[in-house]
């Protein structure tokens, strides 16, 4: 983003006298772009998920509306937008209205440090990984707010479950990321990806070290739990808590929760790819002789291709497994994932020292 800003100033010298204004406008434009991107990704994901689910359950899935049913998600969004905005009696109105945006904020902000390609990143922060871990848990505030403000016992249980779950699973997920950071020697997401350069994926983090290989699974499981995906979707367990924290929501506010959930699926997969599976490092090395722009496009494609596979994995898990119970969830976190993550961390440390 800084490069873009400097480039703008250089090419249009008249902007140099209004630097603050230029920066402000640039931020807004980029922010809107990110929002649009998030919405399109989340929308496409709903279509993808419904198709995958349909295939697993021997159904058809959406087929009616445009492009083999792809436009379905636009229709759904429009329907939700046009719905009556219901705020039940006795709810805490301010919190009730704020909650969906907080839920989305956690997902939306992480796009900032997501390296789509070598040059395509919004902000290459030098604490990118830390930033990602920090921001992604803002979602829990939104969910807790929604649960509390809804004036509904089922929502409240959902909110409390979510708080307990996300706070607990922060620890193994952070611990599982640390070996990668140690290996890359940097907290910047771009540097982590650069550290994985090499032929045909043998230098991806996951293959560099047996401990990181285990860490990947710890990270993946805890990210599933952090994003309330089956088998850890307790905050919205529909057969236990009706719909959990979003029971009382409808219309656009519900759509925001939905958006946050599906953005999170993408973010979870994208970060798993970035940190462990080579990020935008081009597939099959770069033995091919192709000109500069095509290389960038190939990198972008590699990133999205790997991310799609991870997304597919997440969706397949969702439509296959049943849900765990809350005590089993906590047991898994504290009895297994945290010790394993610690073990990995020390393992990597010793590996690097020796």
């Amino acid at each position: 983003m800084l490069q873009l800003f400097n480039w703008l100033i250089k090419t249009f010298p008249s902007l140099a006298s209004h630097q603050e204004l230029t920066a402000f406008v640039l931020f807004i434009i980029l922010g809107l772009l990110v929002l649009t991107f998030a919405a399109v990704v989340a929308g496409s994901l709903t279509y993808f998920e419904r198709k995958v689910a349909a295939r697993i359950q021997s159904r058809m899935g959406p087929i009616e509306i445009g492009l083999g049913g792809y436009i379905q998600w636009v229709a759904d969004a429009i329907k939700l937008l046009l719905k009556e905005d219901i705020i039940p009696e006795n709810v805490d109105k301010i919190l009730f209205r704020l909650a969906p945006y907080f839920a989305f904020l956690g997902a939306g902000l992480t796009y900032l440090v997501l390296p789509f390609s070598e040059k395509l990143i919004l902000a290459d922060l030098n604490v990118g990984v830390l930033y990602f871990l920090a921001v992604s848990s803002i979602t829990v505030i939104g969910i807790l707010m929604a649960g509390w403000a809804s004036y509904n016992k089922w929502s409240l249980i959902g909110g409390i479950r979510s708080a307990a779950q996300i706070v607990s699973y922060e620890i193994p997920s952070a611990l599982a990321v640390l070996p990668v950071v140690l290996y890359a020697g940097s907290l910047s997401t771009q540097d982590v990806v650069r550290a994985q350069a090499g032929w045909a994926g043998f230098h991806w983090m996951i293959f560099q070290n047996p401990f990181i290989f285990i860490s990947f699974f710890v990270f993946f499981i805890s990210m599933l739990a952090e994003n309330n995906r089956i088998p850890f979707d307790l905050p919205e367990a529909e057969s236990e808590l009706v719909a959990g924290y979003n029971t009382e929501y409808s219309g656009m506010r519900f759509a925001m929760f939905f958006l946050a959930e599906y953005s999170n699926v993408f973010i979870l997969s994208a970060f798993a790819v970035t940190l462990f599976l080579g990020g935008w490092q081009p597939l099959f090395g770069l033995s091919l002789k192709i000109p500069g722009t095509a290389v960038d496009l190939w990198k972008l494609f590699s990133f999205f291709f790997k991310t799609s596979i991870m997304v597919f994995l997440v969706l397949t898990i969702r439509w296959t497994l049943p849900r765990v119970r809350i005590d089993q969830l906590m047991g898994l976190c504290w009895k297994y994932l945290v010790p394993i993550a610690f073990f990995d961390l020390f393992g990597v440390m010793f590996w690097m020292v020796l």
Partner: protein, 372 residues
């Protein structure tokens, strides 16, 4: 230092809760997630079938029995016609008995399919349910072919069944018997032996054999507690004594005897046994009439009679009292779900909310059978 104090609250579960299988209501007194007490509140689906029957002729009552248990409509109406036949002393032709057995067992299979499927749904797995529905459709087609309807068949008649089975019935049923066991294995691979699923159900909501007897549980719920009691074997009615089949009972394979997993497994195994019975019945099916000669106006002698069949949800018994007129003086229906509901409070103390869902699902209660 102040002591942390937790307050108990009341949760209102139902009647519009996704996992209460129809319109049941539970008033749950819980401390956070841990349940202290559950009060089932029934009666949302009470239609007064027993009272309505007192104003109807004997053969007009049959369709009402399809609505007693809509998932196993055939088994329910079978109980009723058996009671009336006993009251009148009518001999049912053997072919009719065989048709009843085949349809009854097919009905048991699809009822159990819905049961295990929706149980998996309660546990958070959606796919097993759609797979179960897919298999159920095949049987629904057979029922449509024989009876003309897919859910409430209204097929048994006093003294037999409504009509003979159509051509191609034998092939279709045999085809299903070939088709079903591999599909059931597929289903088991997907969910039954799934580790998370087993961990969710093992040692949860344990009903001891003593409790099961004390609360009058019947059917798979009783057998899940390890008691080998099945009306088809212990008090053989119809032509069941001619078939060879096992009665699956709970063994506590995952945890404790009588836990939710045992009850679930009994249903899975019963489907296999039903398949066996159907195969034998279709091979042995004799020719002949399908309905005994029964007078148009039924006037049973004064007296009372109790007849029961082993329905998918336990003993479905009918107690008929006749005063010699063409209408029953009193009709009492005994259903398995009603007895199963009474045990919910007994075993739910100390469970979590997620376990309560498992308990209700494993008891396989459905609202119309509880309320009639």
């Amino acid at each position: 230092m102040s002591l942390t104090r937790s307050e108990e609250w009341y949760l209102n579960m139902g009647p519009h809760h996704p996992s209460t299988h129809g319109v049941l209501r539970f008033v749950v007194k819980s401390d956070g997630e841990v349940i202290d007490e559950v009060k089932p509140d029934i009666g949302f689906l009470h239609r007064g079938i027993e009272k309505i029957a007192e104003r109807l002729e004997y053969n007009q009552i049959i369709p009402y029995y399809d609505r007693v248990d809509y998932l196993a409509a055939f088994n329910a109406s079978w109980s009723y016609v058996m009671a009336v036949e006993k009251l009148l002393g009518i001999e049912v032709p053997p072919r009719a008995e065989y048709i009843r057995v085949i349809l009854g067992e097919l009905n048991r299979i699809i009822s159990h399919l819905i049961s295990v499927g929706s149980f998996a749904l309660d546990m958070g797995a959606v796919t097993p349910f759609t797979w179960a529905i897919r298999e159920r459709e095949v049987v629904n087609d057979i029922f449509e072919m024989v009876t003309g309807s897919r859910l409430t068949y209204n097929f048994p008649r006093i003294g037999g069944v409504y009509q003979d089975v159509p051509e191609g019935f034998r092939e279709k049923v045999l085809q299903f018997c070939e088709y079903f066991p591999p599909k059931l294995k597929e289903f088991n691979d997907l969910i039954t032996y799934q580790k998370i699923f087993i961990h969710r159900l093992a040692n949860v909501a344990v009903i001891t054999p003593e409790q099961a007897i004390a609360f009058g549980l019947t059917g798979p719920n009783l057998r899940g507690s390890g008691i080998k009691y099945d009306l088809r074997k212990n008090r053989p009615y119809s032509v069941y004594s001619e078939f060879e089949f096992d009665i699956p009972v709970g063994t506590g394979e995952a945890g404790t005897l009588g836990d939710a997993y045992d009850r679930y497994m009994v249903r899975i195994r019963e489907m296999e046994e039903s398949c066996k019975i159907i195969k034998q019945a279709i091979e042995k099916m004799p020719d002949g009439p399908v309905r005994a000669k029964v007078p148009r106006k039924l006037k049973p002698p004064v007296g009372d009679v109790y007849a029961a069949t082993e329905a998918p949800r336990g003993e479905l018994g009918v107690h008929l009292i006749s005063d010699g007129s063409s209408r029953p003086y009193r009709m009492k229906i005994r259903t398995g779900s009603f007895a199963a509901m009474s045990i919910v409070n007994e075993v739910s103390h100390g469970l979590m909310i997620a376990d309560l869902v498992a308990l209700i699902g494993s008891l396989d209660v459905i609202a119309p059978e509880i309320d009639r």
